[in-house]
């Protein structure tokens, strides 16, 4: 688990929402991301986590405000390296692309140097540079994707499920690599994953997304050791065996509540129907969108 | 199923409009003077004065969309203009030549389906035997020979050397009979007409003339149909329900007749439909080789003489045939494919 001690805000998100036709992929997202934060975004499929990444990187239209408090370079690492690397390009050219497109560097020597540094930083051998993606393993390909994303020294790195397509051991290596990189550079990371144990390992802060809404947010320590939302509890129970599992299950309720999780919530009761669905402050950056938070034990 | 068919039928006029639009716009790349000759109804060549009159009359220098709509309305009524090639109106030319093509096409399609089906089924049942190997090899081999080469070899063999068959649609005697009025062409289809005229000789004569060109078409297009019949049958034969039926003691022939033949209909129809394009193009070439007085010969002659209205009529008619053919295939599909039936 990492901790972020910076206080300077780098991304300010206010009332962010993304609507597709007739449903909200993201609704009322308000967030303040600090420099050198590793923001873990936890959610299942359909939670809006990919839309969130797209909105921040600027390739998705949104309502609301995403402000970068200083001019920031954003880079992206995708989930499936077989899809994120051009199969007909050599590794050298793949890593070279952002240098040419973004930095507009023309000097071959400088490009060579940067690429070699990048490839070493991700723990790969430079003779891989002449190969094609299909000649590499999944883990190697993902390292190449990371190298490509780091070669222009970005300020913000968005990682969208980067370990989900890999074997668990390989994924663990990637997480370690990411941690190393984070500790060596001044970089802000947004790390999206459905795997809360990965988030526990690498994030400084976590937000829990469900159907486009933040159900709980706070420092990693608080979220994992002191979860307040029933949904978070369900997610945590899959990794921590020391929690006292109190009847945790997915229910099927008929509710009139505005709470977006109420129809599946095991803590649902009639008083939830009056709940206005606002975020409630618990402590120190720890917020939850639930009125049952008192009754959850850890 | 109704919805499926309705959708298909609605698309027909749209496709037709699309095709005519493109053809019309291509034609209008020609200068007005050349176009004017297409609008004339006389045989003689036009003086520049007459040309100008026509240009004015039909507003050939005017708005193209207006002209297209005017022209389209004429086409729909069946007025394609006058053909310099055949010295009669295009629609009359079509009436004269189309039956010959359709007769040839049908006379070729029926053997393709019947014989092709038979050969394919037999090859499947005798899989990997000499019969199977020879059939597969011969049909692929023939399929890869250009249709004009098959045609010319057949023509040379059976006419040039052996003298058994002759080109054209009927012999000179029959031609005399027709032109003197003793043989009435009720439908334009020689086989039907000869029966209606109770003329056995003409019937034989017509069939004799049909054999060579339709055989040529058969050789050039049946291979894929034979292949799909064979392969689908083999696939069916390996299926569980067939094994069950065999275990129950049912006769192999019965299984084939009642079950397998029906189940291979859908791929057969699909492939048969796809072969239509090849058939239509093949008919044009075959008509040219065997001097068959069909719409293909007419179209090619018109093209050679830059007879614009004639070629236009030709292409539109063939495209219409093609669209209708596709519709028939879709209808057959809808009839035989249970998934669409009960949609």
């Amino acid at each position: 688990m990492l901790e972020c001690l910076e206080e300077k805000e780098i991304i300010s998100i206010k009332n962010l929402s993304v609507k597709y036709n007739n449903f909200y992929a993201l609704k009322d997202i308000n967030l303040s991301i600090k420099e050198r934060e590793v923001l873990g975004v936890c959610g299942e499929s359909g939670s809006g986590k990919t839309t969130f990444c797209k909105a921040i990187s600027g390739i998705e239209r949104y309502n609301g405000e995403i402000k970068f408090l200083k001019k920031s370079k954003i880079d992206f690492i995708f989930q499936d390296p077989s899809s994120s690397l051009n199969p007909r390009m050599k590794i050298y050219d793949i890593i070279q692309e952002p240098l040419i497109v973004r930095e507009k560097i023309k000097d071959k020597k400088i490009i060579n140097e940067k690429i070699n540094n990048a490839i070493l930083e991700v723990g790969l051998n430079s003779d891989l540079l002449e190969k094609y993606p299909h000649q590499l393993s999944g883990g190697q390909k993902q390292r190449v994707a990371i190298a490509r994303s780091l070669v222009t020294q970005p300020d913000i790195l968005i990682c969208d499920e980067i370990t989900s397509s890999l074997d668990i051991s390989v994924g663990a290596q990637i997480l370690n690599l990411l941690k190393d990189i984070y500790q060596k550079r001044k970089i802000t990371i947004i790390f999206v994953s459905h795997d809360i144990s990965a988030l526990y390992y690498i994030s400084t802060d976590i937000i829990i997304l469900y159907k486009g809404v933040i159900l709980e947010e706070g420092k990693t320590k608080d979220i994992i050791k002191n979860p307040k939302h029933p949904y978070t509890n369900i997610l945590i129970s899959s990794i921590l065996t020391t929690t006292k599992k109190e009847n945790i299950e997915i229910k099927n309720n008929t509710t009139k509540s505005r709470c977006i999780f109420s129809d599946k919530c095991y803590k649902y009761s009639k008083d939830c129907d009056n709940y206005e669905n606002q975020l409630i402050d618990i402590s120190n950056d720890h917020k939850v969108r639930c009125i049952k938070y008192e009754k959850i034990f850890n | 199923m109704k919805r499926f068919l309705i959708r298909k039928i609605i698309f027909l006029p749209l496709t037709f409009i699309g095709i005519t639009a493109i053809l019309f716009f291509i034609i209008n790349t020609l200068p007005p003077q050349t176009l004017a000759s297409a609008y004339s109804n006389s045989e003689k060549e036009l003086t520049s004065e007459e040309l100008n009159t026509i240009i004015e009359k039909y507003d050939l220098k005017g708005n193209i969309i207006k002209r297209y709509l005017k022209w389209l309305s004429k086409i729909i009524k069946g007025d394609f203009g006058y053909s310099q090639t055949s010295k009669m109106s295009v629609s009359d030319s079509i009436k004269k030549y189309l039956p010959a093509t359709i007769e040839l096409a049908l006379f070729s399609i029926i053997p393709i389906f019947l014989i092709g089906n038979y050969l394919g089924l037999k090859a499947a049942r005798k899989k990997d035997t000499l019969f199977d190997k020879i059939t597969s090899f011969t049909s692929s081999f023939l399929y890869s020979i250009p249709s004009f080469i098959i045609g010319i070899i057949l023509l040379f063999l059976f006419y040039g050397i052996l003298g058994i068959f002759t080109p054209a649609r009927y012999s000179i005697e029959t031609e005399i009979l027709i032109s003197s009025g003793f043989f009435k062409q009720y439908t334009g289809f020689m086989i039907i007409d000869s029966i209606l005229n109770l003329n056995f000789r003409v019937l034989l004569d017509s069939i004799k003339h049909l054999i060579l060109p339709s055989f040529s078409i058969f050789l050039g297009t049946s291979a894929i149909f034979i292949k799909i019949t064979r392969n689908s049958t083999i696939e069916e034969m390996g299926k569980d329900y067939v094994r069950t039926l065999r275990a129950k003691g049912l006769d192999e022939d019965y299984i084939f007749k009642k079950h397998i033949r029906r189940n291979i209909l859908i791929p057969q129809i699909t492939v048969g439909g796809l072969q239509m394009i090849r058939l239509l193009s093949g008919v044009v070439i075959t008509e040219a080789i065997f001097d068959w007085p069909g719409i293909g010969s007419f179209g090619v002659k018109a093209a050679r003489q830059l007879d614009i209205s004639g070629v236009m009529g030709f292409v539109i008619v063939v495209s219409a045939l093609f669209i209708i053919g596709n519709l028939i295939i879709d209808l057959l599909y809808a009839y035989f494919d249970p998934r669409i039936k009960y949609e």
Partner: protein
């Protein structure tokens, strides 16, 4: 370029295809050395067929005319050799032109989508709904006969097929993450096309084009056979067959003159056949990878 060498190697290993490759190269060589093995008859236009005499009756093969002559003494050998060169030229031009148009229109259609996609696709639909030979005949009726017109007519009929394939490849690629990445880092559309889309999408189109060669040869020969291609007396495969046919139709033909039919037929047949063999195996080579 390495890919091409790889493909040729694979083709060579298969016995059937090896035969096809050898035969094909044989024709290619003939096309190239045509001026040497059949010295031009007329200096201004080498494609005008050599006439060796005045007799109206075809002559059997002899030392003077290795393949014999047709009626009016057109030398069959000369016509077939220069006809080979002609067919290579026509086919190459058609493929280049229709590939160019197909890739540009298919590319625009696939990448930008929207109403432009709709329009271009409807357009290709309509052209594809008319049998190609027939539409080609129509175009030539408008343009007039001639070799150049044949090239234009066939290209007009051919490009929609390539456009559709290229477009569907682009649609597949458009959704890939490496395209999104390039867009995200701000790459210009032209860059994305050049570096990512074309190298990935063009593969299938090139394969399709190479499988198409025999079809183009057949339609070009057919158009010439119908009298819509080269002028009379020209070295053109379709024309040779047409001349051959005229002799049979005249009623004067018999087994004596079989060389007028058999030699050109075999000559053309082997070319098409070799192409078909190669196509079959090419299709097999690329199918698993396509999946």
């Amino acid at each position: 370029m390495n890919k091409i060498k790889e493909i040729i190697k694979k083709l060579w290993q298969n016995k059937k295809t090896r035969f096809g490759l050898i035969v094909f190269s044989f024709y290619l060589i003939i096309a190239i050395i045509a001026p040497i093995i059949a010295p031009p008859y007329r200096e201004n236009d080498p494609y005008i067929v050599k006439q060796t005499g005045f007799s109206a009756i075809p002559q059997k093969p002899s030392l003077k005319s290795p393949f014999g002559t047709t009626q009016n003494q057109y030398d069959i050998f000369y016509a077939l050799v220069w006809g080979t060169r002609m067919i290579f030229k026509i086919t190459a031009k058609v493929i280049i032109i229709s590939l160019l148009i197909g890739i540009i229109l298919g590319g625009v259609s696939g990448y930008f989508g929207g109403i432009i996609d709709e329009i271009i696709m409807r357009f290709t639909d309509i052209i594809l709904s008319i049998p190609s030979l027939i539409l080609a005949i129509f175009v030539i009726a408008i343009l007039g006969p001639g070799i150049e017109k044949v090239v234009i007519a066939i290209s007009f009929v051919w490009w929609p097929g390539y456009a559709r394939i290229f477009r569907s490849e682009i649609l597949k690629i458009k959704s890939m993450d490496f395209i999104k990445y390039s867009q995200m880092i701000g790459a210009k559309t032209l860059w994305i096309f050049k570096k990512h889309i074309i190298p990935n999408a063009i593969y299938n189109v090139i394969i399709l084009a190479s499988l198409d060669i025999s079809n183009i040869v057949i339609i070009a020969s057919s158009l010439s056979f119908l009298g819509l291609g080269s002028p009379p007396g020209y070295s053109d495969w379709g024309q040779i067959i047409s001349v051959s046919r005229n002799w049979i139709i005249s009623g004067l033909s018999s087994i004596e003159y079989s060389h007028t039919v058999v030699i050109p037929s075999l000559f053309i047949f082997f070319f098409v056949f070799s192409l078909n063999i190669i196509s079959e195996t090419l299709r097999d080579i690329f199918d698993p990878k396509l999946n």
